[in-house]
Symmetry: C2
Subunit: 214 residues, 2 copies
Amino acid sequence: MDQLLRVMNFCVSRDGVAAGEAQSLEEPFGLPHPERLFGWAGATASWPMREDGGGSRGLDDYFTRDFARNIGAEIMGRNKFGPQRGPWEDLDWTGWWGDEPPFRTPVFVMTHHGRPSFSLSDTTFHFVDGDPATVLKQAREAARGQDVRLGGGVTTIREFLDADLVDTLHVAVAPLELGSGLRLWESPDELLDRFHREVVTGASGIAHHLFWRK
Amino acid sequence: MDQLLRVMNFCVSRDGVAAGEAQSLEEPFGLPHPERLFGWAGATASWPMREDGGGSRGLDDYFTRDFARNIGAEIMGRNKFGPQRGPWEDLDWTGWWGDEPPFRTPVFVMTHHGRPSFSLSDTTFHFVDGDPATVLKQAREAARGQDVRLGGGVTTIREFLDADLVDTLHVAVAPLELGSGLRLWESPDELLDRFHREVVTGASGIAHHLFWRK
């Protein structure tokens, strides 16, 4: 447990939906009005993409503030990196985040289709094909003793949960039902066989589910 | 607001008491069973003095985990540093924390009685005589762009509040009444003219009061 694998600030609806089924360039989350799930994070002072000096410093800010603390690498699925599927046809695509991605560490993008690593500002993207345990080993080495963030999307998180590789999860449950889409869980109780859980709800109405290994 | 002055993990009873009136070497907080106020912090995985690998990773851990994040200096009152009063008679006293103090930054101890600076591991203690604004200026320079933690005790925090120098406060209110002692406040509502507040209570029963400037 020296180097934790951590799910952080992962946003779902009350019925467990984290993304729609039809991701596109215009709708990265495949959801209408995704701010209904993610708006709480953007309202905080420590949101990584914030450029002004404003924002709240209450409970929700402790979660966004923790985003980079002691994190040395991120693992993400290809669908978090971009909307393309199959072999890379457009190597000009360098992610959703512009010239200054918020990760500032090595990022391991899981894909069966290789492409060369590249760097943007302090972030370097590597494209790796392997099972979760193999990719985690690579990410831990790159993290140099720090923890590894498991960035999502939902399919990737489920693969790592199925392989029992996740040490802690912070899942932010928004007070709305989406009905259809990609689900993290049918119920958060599914994780209680392996994890402790604490749920805390602040003024924003977001229920923060905090899980850590038993 | 680039370099915040932050009160963090400051523990009081429901009636606002943070310390007893009779501090001694045996009772640094001048309270019987001070663990009733502070025990929640020691139970977390990220408590700075923890040496084993255990501890909880729920809500309370986000607060202890935040202890060192982006903190470049601490300011404390003399009574947090030690039980002596008046001119220093025992320069062998180097604080309560042994050879590895948890601060790992410059620490400015406010006292009218000078003594030479000294270092223990990554922490350097300076002894400074000045009003809160002057000491804060020194601490901000030492913090090199990072925030400054206002470590207490209660008298010191009140001095900085009176001078309107505090940017954020996290006060952990334990569910017990102590009746007598040094009080941070008569009521937390006293701060609402200048601060936003959110209160969040987790499984431990501690009510975390989070204040940030309006």
